[in-house]
């Protein structure tokens, strides 16, 4: 039997989409859906999808259950006496309404799409910058509530991934700081450039800053880390060098350094 299905399964944005496609392709009257036929075709689709290892979301399975339920309702003989008292609603009605609603929004989506086509053929060239006074130039982002939540989430995410070194003021040593910098390059910025300023700003004591400074000098000497500067007077960045792994291959390097600072 020839299947009306479009076996580019993924074209379907959910079960309503699939059902609509079945109905429209076969020019079925949506107000009188042959439920047995449609159910069979729907299940055939699901079978094919399983064979093709396509993952079907839960709503596809839920729809299958709904279809089978409607089908069984239509098969059950009704009590004619009861039917006269309270005429039963066509069990398909709810599904049909859902399908029609879905179809309306599909058309609406297409309409929006067409509008975008027009807008993409139109250009505007505003010159407001020429007329903005120099002083009221507030560079920045025009922000929305969504930006606010998103930003907060980003801040928390960053905080979570930040290596936490609880260094009490007096205990911190140069090797501690070497391990600290190493952790940063291993976790936070494998290949990127780390701002030296930010690194220093994270330190909570003078001693920690001095140790960090000495640690950086040692690392540069070992060619584990390099310094970069974009332009004159620009920010100094730290970059992982080829010697990074070698420098940390043994603890002896650290031990030697530790000795040196005793």
């Amino acid at each position: 039997m020839s299947s009306p299905l479009n076996f580019h399964l993924e074209h379907y944005n959910g079960p309503l989409d699939l059902l609509l496609d079945l109905i429209r392709k076969q020019e079925i009257n949506i107000y009188d859906i042959p439920i047995a036929q449609i159910t069979a075709q729907y299940l055939e689709y699901m079978q094919k999808a399983l064979e093709m290892d396509t993952e079907l979301s839960a709503e596809f399975i839920y729809m299958a259950a709904t279809l089978i339920q409607i089908k069984s309702k239509t098969l059950l003989p009704r009590d004619p006496a009861l039917q006269d008292l309270a005429p039963e609603e066509d069990p398909r009605t709810e599904l049909v309404n859902q399908l029609l609603e879905h179809e309306r929004f599909k058309s609406a989506a297409e309409m929006l799409h067409q509008k975008r086509v027009v807008e993409e053929a139109v250009w505007s060239n505003p010159q407001i910058e020429q007329f903005r006074a120099e002083d009221d130039g507030t560079p920045g982002l025009a922000v929305t509530l969504h930006d606010l939540v998103k930003t907060f989430q980003g801040v928390l995410e960053r905080a979570k991934n930040r290596p936490v070194y609880e260094i009490t003021n007096e205990d911190v040593s140069v090797p501690d700081m070497i391990r600290y910098v190493r952790a940063i390059f291993e976790n936070e910025s494998r290949h990127g450039v780390v701002s030296a300023r930010e690194l220093f700003e994270r330190q909570r004591s003078r001693r920690a800053m001095i140790c960090l400074f000495l640690a950086l000098l040692e690392l540069v000497k070992l060619q584990a880390v390099g310094l970069t500067q974009g332009d004159a007077f620009g920010e100094i960045g730290l970059k992982r060098l080829k010697g990074f792994d070698a420098a940390f291959s043994t603890e002896t390097n650290l031990a030697a350094i530790e000795e040196g600072y005793q």
Partner: protein, 219 residues
């Protein structure tokens, strides 16, 4: 030609010259501004009567609509905005240096946007109900692109967040206001027609995305 000063025009069609002057300023303002400004905003800032400003703006819209003009002044998002006419897009495209990247929206995103546009303010569960799909990831895309925004909370159990479309939505889709959208009923009639006429003619390819789906594993 001498500049016309309002105080000098005591008689003899003073209105006409004043109007020409105001109209020129309005043209310059519409040209300069980057987002659609309403007649009210312009009238208030220029300290001129709203009805005069409105009439002159409408004259400008009409004048630029003539076929000899490649520019148009369009009413979008409750305001006026100058832009090139779509019909000249092929010739103009080559000269546009800073081509703004097209707003790429998936079919799912467009559908979700349509639901929000018509049902606003609307909650996530309501959107998912209509689309028959679980999943609200496209909401995040729409929020990121500022096409929709939060609109308070619905006073039902769980107090879900309500969403609405934004001014940016009107701008991006070239709509004067929401009432310019066809009614859902009109789509219903379209749907009915499609039973007898199932093949709408194919359209040109567009720089939009495929619906959210990986390519078929087996063809």
């Amino acid at each position: 030609m001498d500049e016309i000063d309002a105080s000098q025009l005591t008689e003899e069609r003073p209105v006409e010259n004043l109007d020409a002057h105001l109209k020129a300023i309005l043209e310059a303002i519409v040209y300069v501004t980057d987002e659609p400004l309403s007649a009210q905003q312009m009238a208030a800032a220029l300290e001129r009567p709203i009805d005069v400003v409105k009439r002159l703006l409408d004259e400008l819209v009409e004048e630029f609509a003539a076929p000899g003009h490649g520019l148009s002044i369009r009413e979008i998002a409750g305001g006026y905005k100058m832009a090139t006419k779509a019909e000249h897009h092929e010739a103009v495209r080559a000269f546009v240096k800073k081509l703004t990247p097209p707003l790429k929206l998936s079919l799912a995103a467009l559908e979700t946007l349509a639901v929000i546009a018509y049902k606003q303010p609307v909650t996530t569960p309501e959107i998912m109900d209509i689309r028959g799909v679980q999943g609200a990831s496209v909401l995040q895309t729409l929020l990121d692109r500022k096409l929709i925004a939060e609109a308070g909370r619905k006073t039902v159990v769980g107090k879900p967040i309500l969403y609405k479309t934004t001014k940016e939505f009107l701008v991006q889709f070239g709509l004067k206001d929401l009432s310019e959208l066809p009614t859902l009923k009109e789509f219903e009639e379209l749907g009915r027609l499609s039973v007898s006429e199932p093949e709408p003619e194919p359209q040109a390819e567009l720089p939009l995305e495929t619906p959210d789906a990986p390519p078929a594993k087996n063809a």
